[in-house]
Every structure is written in structure tokens, then in C-alpha cells.
Symmetry: D4
Subunit: 248 residues, 8 copies
């Protein structure tokens, strides 16, 4: 409820169109749906510009199904992340045109077609093993109607591969760099472009990689400016933020 609506409400009370009890009720009532185990945030699109997304990990198949069932009553596109195949099957029963990206582990349901952006997001990975995170970012950016270009396996061990794709990267409006191991790709790209770089450390690697911590720290300490970081393996977060920036 924004200030205009508040003013309208108070005017209505003043004009006695609505009585005080209704006013109290209206001011207390907030737009979410309580399912008991989940309070779905319907108000979210108005507030932050995007519908709520279902983070499926740690939820039961029944809970995912219940949340999707409710969301299907609204006119929003639906995105579920960290979903397993069993969840997907349960959702598909509710909605036959639900799609599953096996590598990215996302469920998407497209209920309305919107125009694609003119500018695009570049998603760059250091290696082949980083692709699942890239796919999660990709599906996220796509469900919010962004144009996306992919550059995969362009890590700094063979830096000419990166330079070869530099045009694609430089012309993007925002760049997502996804890398495990030492995550050096974020710094190298950050030093070569004049666009925001969203770095996603991945848990790819072994030994002193510590499940992505090395890449995370490396990216946080990037000697290149213009680089910010999201959580390890957080393809969704990167895709979401890239979408916000791409639409500015």
C-alpha cells in the first residue's frame, strides 16, 4: 500500500465511505497468503518488481506442490530453483507446460509472454563444470524476459579463448562471471569491461578449494573494480540481479 492509497483510505474514512473498523482492518491487512507452512508474498511484485521465486531445497515435494498450486491461481510466471526431478513431476501434474532444466535444476512455468529486452546479459563460465550454475542463472534471467548470451569454458588457463569472445562480453549490459577453483576469471574480465560484473563463485574444485570458498574470497578481493559477488553456486541470485540491472 503506497502513500496515495493511504491518503485515499483516510479520505474515505473522513468522508465516512468506510468506517473505522474497516480502516483498521485495511491498515493491518497485508497482501500475502498463509499456507501454514509458508506465507506466500503476493505483494512482492509491486514492492520489488518481481514475483516470488520458490527455493525448493529443504522443502518437501508436497510443500512445493502446494505452493505452485496456489501460485498458478495468479497471472505470474513461476520459477522454482534447486528442484529435483520428483518435484518437477509433481508440478507437471498440476501444469503440463512446466519445464525442467536438468543441469540448472530449475522448474519454469511461463504464463504470460513479455517482450524480450534489447540489451543482453552475458553469462561467462571458466570451465565446463561450472555450467549447472550458469544454467540456473540463465533460466532465471530468461523467466524475467532478458536476452542472454552464453560464453562457456573461457577460463584464464587458456586466456586466448576469453579474448576471442571478448566482443560478446564487452557489448553486454551486464556480465555474469561464473568460476570455481581460484576464480581468477572475474578479475580478468573485470579489468577488461566497463559494465557491472556479477561474480559467482562455484564449488568446483578440490582440496584447498573448500567447496567454493577460495573462489569466493578471490572474487571479493578482486584487484579489478566493478565486480561484486553473490553466494557460492548462487546462479539464481546472479541471474536475478543481472535482470534488475539489465532493465534499468
Amino acid at each position: 500500500m503506497d502513500e496515495a492509497e493511504l491518503r485515499k483510505l483516510l479520505e474515505d474514512i473522513k468522508k465516512q465511505k468506510i468506517d473505522v473498523d474497516e480502516g483498521v482492518e485495511a491498515l493491518k491487512d497485508l497482501p500475502f497468503k498463509d499456507l501454514g507452512y509458508a506465507m506466500i508474498d503476493n505483494h512482492r511484485e509491486i514492492r520489488v518488481g518481481y514475483p516470488e521465486v520458490i527455493y525448493c531445497a529443504g522443502k518437501t515435494v508436497e510443500q512445493v506442490r502446494g505452493i505452485v498450486e496456489f501460485m498458478l491461481t495468479k497471472e505470474n510466471n513461476i520459477l522454482g530453483t534447486r528442484a529435483n526431478e520428483e518435484m518437477y513431476k509433481a508440478v507437471k501434474e498440476l501444469c503440463p507446460y512446466a519445464k525442467y532444466n536438468e543441469e540448472g535444476r530449475t522448474i519454469t512455468i511461463r504464463k504470460k509472454e513479455q517482450e524480450e529486452t534489447d540489451s543482453y546479459i552475458a553469462i561467462v563460465t571458466a570451465g565446463t563444470s561450472d555450467i549447472p550454475v550458469a544454467e540456473e542463472a540463465f533460466e532465471t534471467a530468461r523467466i524475467f524476459d532478458n536476452k542472454v548470451k552464453k560464453v562457456f569454458d573461457a577460463g584464464v588457463a587458456g586466456i586466448h579463448r576469453l579474448f576471442n569472445k571478448m566482443d560478446i562480453i564487452r557489448q553486454a549490459k551486464v556480465v555474469i562471471v561464473i568460476a570455481g577453483m581460484e576464480g581468477a576469471l572475474a578479475s580478468v574480465v573485470g579489468g577488461l569491461v566497463d559494465k557491472p560484473v556479477i561474480a559467482v563463485p562455484t564449488s568446483v574444485g578440490y582440496g584447498a578449494n573448500f567447496g567454493g570458498v577460495t573462489a569466493l574470497l578471490s572474487m571479493l578481493n578482486s584487484c579489478a573494480s566493478g565486480v561484486s559477488v553473490v553466494n557460492i553456486d548462487n546462479g539464481f541470485g546472479a541471474g536475478y540481479l543481472a535482470s534488475i540491472i539489465n532493465k534499468l
Copy 2:
């Protein structure tokens, strides 16, 4: 054995009602039952106000069964935490009215009904995935006869959901806040209530969440006062402490 009993014992020795050997024995003898693999602390209710609780993790089914078997000879309610279904089945054979909370992984046996408290404990979770920890806290608080109210999925990403439930939270005598990820809910609640807040970090999250460490650190560093913290996923500890405070 409190000071009055000590005085009584010494009087009896003085009056030669009991002889010195008995006195030595009495002063050495302490109220616990030694099962070999476990020494059950019968004295505990007198000392700290609550019967002993069985922490089932790391015990064999046989050990859990043996401990319950002994405890059933006493007139206390019984609570087993971190119990798996196999343990529950073994216990149910001993006691048909034993109950199992699948989400909370608790076994409860209610041998005596006591009056429920007037004041209540509010259990608030940030997300749906935090519910198992909340259920452990709930069963713990309930076995000790506390009134409890639940507010689930009220995390700060959609803070209006929290504000909508604020009345329930504010009127509690003590509040348990359960959150994973960055655990910000504890600070926000702590800044809004004038009651003790027991924060429970959960291992919900991924990447740099480190199995709940991030939420733990976040809660320990809460900028709001009146917040204290128990171990990661320690629903039992929170429920137990809340019960002590609720009964003050």
C-alpha cells in the same frame, strides 16, 4: 541432597539412629542409575527442575530402548530428541502411547498431565525449511506443559508478513526465533519486542552458509539487545530454555 537433608542425616548420626558407615555411604551415594553404557540422572528433576532428556543421535537403537525402559519405571514424562523411525518403533513396543513427530524427529511419552502455562512461548521461523527445528522446539516446550504459538515463514525478505504477526509475537512471554541463511530475523524481532529472544540458527542455506555458521555468527552479533543464541539446529535447547523462562 540439600542442606536440610544433610542436617537431618548428621542429627541422625549424632542420635545414633544411623551409624557412621551408613552415613559415609549416604554421603557417597548419589541418585543415578548406572546401565553400564549410560548413567541415568534421576536426581536431575530435583536439581534443575526438569527430568533428563534422551539425546538419541549417536546411540544405538538398543541403547535408546534400554534407557526408555528404565525411565518408564519412573513417573516422568519422557522426551527423546534426534530420534529416527527405527528408534521410535522400538520405543513404541515398550509403550504404545509413545508419539513421534516426524519433522521434529522427537519421541514423546506423556505419563502425567500437568496444567498448561497461562503465558505462552512464540516460535517464529524465517522460512519453511526451518520448520523441523521449530517442531523440535515445539515438542520440547509442550512436554514441559507450556502454551505455544507458531508463526512460520515470516522472514525479512517479505517483512510485512512479520509485521502482520507482530501481535502474536509481542504478547508472548518469551520468543524463539529460528532462521537459517543470514539469520536477520533475530535482529529484526529483537528490535521490536521487550521480551527475551532465543535465537536458533539453522543449517538451512548453501554456499557460504557453512551449515548454519553464518546464521549463528549473525545472531551472536545482533545489533538488537535481548537476544541470546543456542547451537545450530538446537530446537531442543531453545524449547527447554524458553520453558524455564516461561515458568519464572
Copy 3:
């Protein structure tokens, strides 16, 4: 502004005692004072039951002075924590009856006398080196008018010292246990009392103590129930929470 006041406001609008612009203003206006570098939370006492406390570390002497100067215009007691002597001198110029606890590094200004609580808080330390943290807790509890009893240097290396003071500890309504090194005292006390135990790890120790982390972890993993933990060296947090509990 609680629900009753909101209702009153709306009634007044309805009755046209106040006009809509005033209503909008009233609903937007929140009770804090903006000093530019600090927004002082005047509303806090109503909301969480205690006036705001000044955390002096990281503030300049001028900032501390400015905040105190404003707070002196209100009728609340004032507490500054982590204050150095220079800050104290600046405050004393504003208010001659300000007091400084050198060990606890607190500034206190008592503007109103309230009745002391009947029940008391016990503050127990493991060693002599933990006393500064204990003094911070003490001053915090005192400014909020709690009765407090101190038991210092009662660590488990000579556990009979603890047992000797057990009566004082057992009769408290809430116990603060302050310990560095391995922090075992919290578990031992927790196993002996039926009251809430607030454990404060201190940075006392060396080597693998890691500035209090060992004591912190130890206390979080206490095998005794009824123990919750605040941040390392956070005497203020413990005193504040103990005060809330003591007044329940």
C-alpha cells in the same frame, strides 16, 4: 504508536478533529531524532522497554558528546559502553554526576531513581581476568535497577570454590556466567541450577583460544540445557538480557 493510538487517530480524522494532511504526517512521523551522523531512537523505551544505549566504540568523542547532550534533554537514565576515559571527560563536562567504571569501561548517568528488583541476577566469573566483562554486565543490570550479586574467580580448575558459592547462584532468578579459556564453567553451572543461564565467552586466554572463540564454541555446545550465549566479551548484552528476564 500502538493500535489504540492508531484507532484514536482515525477516530479524530473521522470526526474531522484533525485533517487528512495531519493524519498523513502523524502516520509518517516516527519518534527518533536525526543528528545527521546518528538517528536516536526515542521510541525505543515504548517498543522494547528500555531506553537506547550508546555503544561508544567506533564513535568519535564529539559524536558521543553530541548524543549524550541530546539524551540529557530526556528523562531517561543513560548508559554508554566501551567508552574510554576521554569520552568520559567530555561527558562529565556536560553532566557532573556522570560516573565511569574503569574496569567495565562504562559511563552511567542516573536521572531517575526506580525501585530495585526483589529478585536478583548472579554474575559469576571463572577467573580474575574476566572481571572487566563482568563489570560491564553489572553496570548494565544496575542502570536498569536490578539487584545483582557477584561471584568472581570460581572456575572449574578448583571446583570446590564454585560449590561453596552455589547457594548464591541457585537463589538468583537468572545467572550470568562469564568465562574465557575453555568456558567449562557454563556447562557446570548449567547442570546445577534450574534458572536461565546466560553464558558470556571472554577473550581471556592465549594460543588456540582465538580471542574467545574457544569459549564461545564450548558454551554453544554445552552439554547442560538452559544455557544460551551472547557474543564474546558482550557484558552489556548479558546484563541487558538478564534484566529483561529478571523483570518478567
Copy 4:
């Protein structure tokens, strides 16, 4: 050297306007100035859109002076971060209109006036102690000609202070949130705006704050989307990235 220039060069060789040795030289020659202890990146503005910035920490006063001396021969604005007063004095001798922000520890030299952006960057801090980092971000954003609005001391312990300033924050094109302790402010703001949020953890706090690590982890695990993170206390990095985004 972009593709057009490369083509021009090759055409010139073909037309024998320039000879092969010159061509080799031109293709090998890159636009930086080698001072021995530093290679100043003159090419940077062309490549990433901003002139090079001097990170003064770990450099001697003589080195800072030498770098500024060279940079003054170019027509760019100059920014030095993490500068101490002695460095400032050395720079001021070279350039009387150099300015020093004592809190933010920045040196700025403005050699050309450019038009200020229409859209603005909001810089929000949780507490007073976070202001030095905010000032570094502010000076960085300003030297790149961004409009900036400040909201200081709006942490979640008194969340109404934040809500009071929500309009300023919501109307920004990009928001910088600066917080120490548990860093919850980033999640709360992230849940309320539809703009990119750049979170800066600060080393403000004590104990289990670990010099900002807690806030860092908290922000990386933010339950709100649209939040990305830069290094601890990295006001410069946040200001720089915000500037890139603000100018998209």
C-alpha cells in the same frame, strides 16, 4: 586499440604509409607509463570507462607523490583511497586544490567538471561507526559525477528509522547498504526495493564479528534477492560499481 584502429593501421601498412617496423612497434606498444615501481594504466579510461585510482595503502609517501605527479600531466580527475594525512600533505604540495576527506581517508583532485547524473545513488549505513566506509563510497561516487543521497544510522535495531527514510532509498537508481555487526540491514533493504543493492560489510563490531566476516557472510547469504557484496570496508568498490550502474 580497437578493431577500427587495427584496420586503419593495417590499411596504412598496405598503402605503405607506415612501414612494417612501425607496425610491429605499434602493435606491441601499449598505453601505460612505467615508473619502475608502478605501471600506470593510461589506457584504462578507454577500456573500462574510468581513470585509474590510487590505492595508497602499502605504498610509501614518495610512491604516492610520484604517481600523482605523473597523473597530473593528464586531464583526468584523480582519486586516492586509504590515504593518510602525510600522503595528503605531499599531494597538496603538488596541487593546492587537492581535497582530503578525513573520515573517508580519500584524496580527490578535480581537474574537469562534468555534468552530474540525474538519477542518484543512495548510501545507507546501519550505524554511526559505518560512516568512514560510507564517506569513501561517497567520494568515489562524487569524483565520477554521480548525484548521491545519504541515509546514516538506519539499522534494524530501530527499524522505524529505516522506514522513515524509505522514500529516499526507493527512488534511488542503485542503493549502497553499509553495515557491520550482523549486517541484517542489507536483507531488509533488499526485500523492500526493486533496485540493485550493493552491500558493504564493515569491520564494525567485536568478538565473533571477526573484523567484518560475520557481516560479509550474512550479506552473501541474504534471503533477499538483488543483493551483491563487495569486500569488507570496501567503500571505494561499492561507490565505483554504483557509479557504473547509475550511468547505464
Copy 5:
């Protein structure tokens, strides 16, 4: 080869009983058996007083079998630690009187009976879940012919259980204390006995226990003197060291 043997060898060379080549050979040749994948240290009993022990983790069943096969050609007792049942079966085929301690996961083969020590080792555990580590220590101490007494489940949450067994503990020549969670038992025992205490942290616990790190740090920081620590879950190391001390 000790100094006497060296002298003998040189005398023999001098007397030309053996020639120089033999001398070189003898001085180069050291008493171990090379199996290719393992060099068995036969010399060990002479050097450090105990035969070599087989650490089975990370070895294949074939390797364990091969090592035992060789060792059976010598007249030493054999101890295998961290052995699984499959390894035990392979060993049992070689030697029918091999024994397996399922909780302690040890294989023992007793080839010679030696006199049991008069003095004894006390093995104390905090909880039931610590028993597997205790059993490994027990089997180790036993294979080296030590008298051992066990006190299980005597943790500080019910400290009277410990005091009840204090006589057994005090009369030991050396005490092994095994505890997980916060490991406070080591400090409490260390403060009550005048014998060496070998503390073994276990990985029992959850959350901020970090697989035994909390107990480890706690024990290293013990406020009681006379306590030293071995690796997490290292029952063998504790039993071995206790045996050395018990035989001094």
C-alpha cells in the same frame, strides 16, 4: 643398531672378520620389510618399545591382509585400528583367533601373554556416544597388557555421577578423558586429580561442534593443568600414550 653393535661391527672389520663391503652393506641395511606398498618397521619395538600398529583406514583389504600375513611371521601381538568388518574377515582367515571389537573397530591378535600391569589406566567418557573411541583406547591399552578401568557416561551435566566415580579415577596412574560437545569433562577431571590426564576430543555433537573441533579447542585451553590432548577421536593414540606412562 645401537652403539654397542656399531662398535662390534667396526671391531670385526678391523679384525678382518668381515670385509669392507659387508660393513658398508650392514651400515646401510636397516631393519624393515619392504612390501612395495608398505615398509613394515620391524625395528620399531627396539626403538620405541612397541611393535608397529596397522592403521587400516585408507588401506585396501588386500593391503591389510598382506601386512598382517607378514606380521604373523613375527612373535608380536598385532593391533589393527579403524578396521571394518571385511578386513576382519580377511584377517580371520589368516588367523582364527583374531578378535574384532565392533564398537572400537579394532582387530587384535594376541600371540604372547605378558603380565598385566599392577597400576591401571582409567578411561572416562562424558557420554554414551563417546564409547566407540573409548573402546579403541581400551583395546590398545589391553594389547599392551595394561590393567584398565572404565567409567562411562560421567559428563558434567550431571556432575554428581562423576563425583561418585571419583575414587576409581583418582587411584589410576593415568587417566584418559573422552568427551565430545564442549569437552568440559577434561577440565573438571584435570582439576581433581594429581595424575596425567590425556584428553581425547570426540566428534560427538552437532552444529557448532564442527566434528570435534570445539571439544579439541576446549581441551587445549583447559584451565586445569596436567591435561594434554591427542587428535579428535584418536582412541588409539590415547591408549598408546597411557600405556607408555602406565609402564614408566
Copy 6:
């Protein structure tokens, strides 16, 4: 493309043997093969002296198969590391003379025989459990045609075993030391040889070994000089670097 080739290209443009478009193309074109999910670095042998190696972990069987299929079209030897048996089977279908080292988990395909080096690499392990890492190093060194000598199970607990093999170690041109637990072997060997020592920490051990971190830190802090370290369990990296040094 080295400087000579660049000069040749420009000469050709000048002489109008090739036209400008071709020149631009040639300068942009870089020698790698883009498979979509992987960009194979064909240029690598020219640049760093070795063909690309396939790191199989995190790749699907299909991806490994596809990469090998392409690489078989070139005349290089092929090495796949961290390969599982399923991958090997897929590769063997493509190339019947592919070999699998089960302990080292490597796939090797030898397409050209080159002369073996005269000097050799010594691979020393502390224990039997370190052999898998040693085998990975061995296969790596062998595919690059190095002579290799193995010394396994020579840890410092029985240091005479090491001394017995010292001649083999001292005469190597470069020494790989592989050890888990406390990794002391690297320091001891480093203090006894005048050749480069490449230390490989392994994840062998338990408790406070932290998956190889202890050995890693130990080796980084070696009191002996001439020791450098690669990642935990990184047999490939050690074998590769040893090969470079062995061929200097």
C-alpha cells in the same frame, strides 16, 4: 602466434599477398576448438609446452567422451585425471588401447612414443594410503615421457626407512613428496636434498587433519628450504610441474 609470425603476416599484407580482411581475421582467430560446453585449447602445447589435460571430475561421461573424441583427431598423447570407471569404459570404446590406472584414477592414451628422459623424478610417499595420489603423479609424469622412481611408505614415524632409500631420492633431478597427517616428511626430505622438492599434501588422516589442511599448512611452513607446495591430493599438478623441471 609469435613475433616472427606477426612480422611475416604484416609483410604479406604489405606485399599484398593477403588482403586486409584476411589480416584482421588472422589476428582475431585463435587456435581453439569450441564444443559449446568446452573450448579445447589446441594452442596450448605451443604456448606452455604440453597438450591440454582433461580434468574429468564435474564433467558428465558424455562430455568426457566428446572431448576425447575430438582430441583423438590430433597427434597428442591424452591424459584424463579424476576419471571414474564409467568414463574409462566410454573412452575405451573410442580407443581400444586407452589405459586406466585404478588407484590413480587416470585414463591415458599414448599416440606417440617419445624418448624417455635420462634424469628421473623421485616420488616419495609417507604412507600406504598416499599411494592413489602418487599414482596420479606417476601417470602424469609418464605420459610426458619422464623416467620415474617410486619410494612408498617412508614416513618419519620410522625414519630409518627413509634413510635407507635416501640414495634414490638424492640422485633424482626433482623430488615429489606426498604425505597426509602432519606432512613432516616434506621438511625432512627438504633438509636432506639439494634438488627442488614438490610437496603434495593428501587428505589422508582424520580429526584435526581437516581433509589435508594440516598437511598443507605444515608443508607451506616447512623449516627446510627448496620446498614448494601444490593443492591437496593434486598428484597431477605435482607430476606436471616435476616434468617441466625434469626437462629443463
Copy 7:
């Protein structure tokens, strides 16, 4: 109060030599001296065999002086550790024959001469920089009347230095090994002696030494048996434990 005394007390009550009030008093009264800021444990020598030791770090000069003043009223030797020169001067005023070991930072006051042990403790350091910790261990062992032999700077980088001193080390009853950096000396010595080895990690080193953590972890993971570990830089703890073992 041991069992014999307890029996005597009860007999006296029975015989009415002392009355019940006295009995209660006697059983409540424990042998420590409460100085307010410290409770001095007089009972300690009876209980654990050694008088209390003053850990001076974190105490004020006044507190140290007060504790020594009281202790001088008893007939025990006095040891203060981590003492600075100022503390020493304050103590020397009280007791002219107090001694200060500048490297070890200990204050010692010898009030009674006892017979020196026949067997001895060997204190071995890896380097010169470890000597301060060795001196603390030395003074501790000496105040408890142990014979001690020192072997300094015998680290494994030049392992022949260690072997040269092996006789001294082998003939000790217990060996203290003190090392920083990678702490490998503990493993090497542990593999060569048949006596208990007490390993003391020191904070000597830099970089990834982490103030002694590397040496600590290394020693905990020693591949040699018979090694246990005390806290980083804890020369006192090692000397104390060595004394207990040396006197067994």
C-alpha cells in the same frame, strides 16, 4: 577433605565431640581464600599435588601483588607465569629473593628446598626463537624440583643436529618438544623414543603459520605415537605435566 577426614568428622559428631552446627560448617567450609577479585585455591596441593600457580596475564600489577602477598603467608614455592617486569618489581618489593626469567617471563620464589628428581625431563626446541617457551617450561619444571636437560635448535631442517643429541633425549623419562613453523620435530622425536612426548606448538613463524595453529595441527596429527599436545606457547602446561609424569 578426603574420606578419612570425613569419617573422622562424622565419628566426632557421633561421639558428640563436635556439635551438628560445627559439622555443617565444616562440610560447607572449603579451603580457599577469597580476595574478592580472586579465590586462591589453598586446597590444591592436597587435591592435585601442586600448589596453585599465578597466571599473570590479564591481571593488574596490584592483583598479582595481592595474590603473592597472600601466598607468601604459606610455606609453598611460588610460580608466576606470563609476568612482565613491572609485576616482577612489585613482587620483589614483597620478597627480595624472587627471581625473574626474562626470556621465559616467569617469577619464581623458592621457599622450601626439596630433593631433585633422579630421572630428568628433556626440553628440546626446533629453533632459537622457541627458547622463550622452553624457558617457561624449564622454570615450571624446576620449581617443582625436577632435573632438566636442554637441547636447543635441533630442528629437522638439519636433522643431524638432532641425531647428535639423541642420547640425551632418549635417556630422559619424559620429553618436551617445542617447535613452531610446521612442528615436524615432534613427529621425528616421537618416532625415535619410547617415552612420553609432550609437544608444545609455538607461535614462531609467519604467513600460513597463523600464530602457531599450523604447528598445533601438525602435532595433533603426528604420525608417531606417544605424542600429546598442549596449547600454543604453553610452556607452563608442558613443564607441569612433565613434572607429574617425571614423578610417577
Copy 8:
């Protein structure tokens, strides 16, 4: 004493040129000088090819002076690392031609001139702040008579600076890469050269750099092969190892 000398000794005993006692003595006597606080390893040059180096940190000025005084009696060049100016002054009194590198904090005394190597070591730093570590490496390499070339401030944020110097780097026999922050330079260089790369992480950076840990981890996880790592800020170790490799 190598095998030839051993054979000679035994021959002499056989021929009765020397008697058995002398033989025992010779075999026990090892070439080091015991100064009490330090055992100087004279044998080192024979064993590992280089004279001993003085690590001055943690030593007193007197100790450094005493060690140098002894070493001056030998005909070796002398290198002291981590030396402060006071140490240098003390050394200069002993030897007027001692030199001090203020940035690298090394003392060098050149007593014999040897031929410089033909091949050279390249020392590359990412930034200006890494120069002190580079200077330590430089002095170490120089005292061992290596030719060295420096490339300073060539970090990946402006990667063209690196490419410009690539010829110098590629033609070295061994490359030392020194970088703080995220240490990406090691990976980029490693992917471009066919020579061994010794990576030195530095403690340059702030926040989540953790005193060089980020660069260390990054380098250990380098996606480029041929890279090994020494301890944080360990310029000496890198220079020493580079010298060994350069002379192979």
C-alpha cells in the same frame, strides 16, 4: 659424510690407520657448531648445496650478531632475512661491507664472487605493494649468483601491462610471481609460460584477504598447471627454490 668418505673411513680402520675409538667418534661427530642458543649447520652446503641462512625474526640482536660472528669465520656468503635496522647496525660493526636492503629487509655479506648464471629468474609482482617481498626474493637469488630480471606492477586489472612484458617472462628459466589480493596473476602467467612458476602470496590487501590467505588459496587452486606455492610473504623461499631450479 657421503658413501665414499664412509668407505674411506672403514678402509682406514681396516688398515688400522685409525683406531676404533676414532672411528666411533667420526661416525658420531657431525659438522655443526653449537652456540647454546643455536646449532649452526656447517654441513648444510655439502648436503643441500647452499650455506645456512639466518632467519632473524624472533632472534635478539645479540643472537644475530653471535651467529654472524661465527659464520664470518667460514668462507661463505651470508644472508640474513627479516632483519631490522638495529640488527644490520650490529652486523655492520662486525663486517663493514655488509649491505642492507631496506624494502626487502635483508642483510647480505658477499665473501666470494662466483660466476653469475647464464639463464635468469624473472620476478613478477602484481602491484607496487608487493615489492618488499620481491626484494627479499631478489636478494636471495642474487646472493646465490643468479641473474634476475624484475617486472613490477603487472597485475591483471590492466592485463596489457603484463602482455607487454611477456617476452621477459617467457625467456626466464623459472618465474616467481608475487601477488596479494586475489593472486590471479599466478594463474594468468601459469597459463602463458612453459617454465616452472613459483607463486608467492602476499599479505597485501584488506578485509576478506585475511593477511594473504585469499591469495594463498587462490594460488593453490590455480587452474593453470606448472604452478607451485610457498608460504605467504616468503620471498626468501621463492628466491631459494628458484635458484635451485635455475642451476639445474
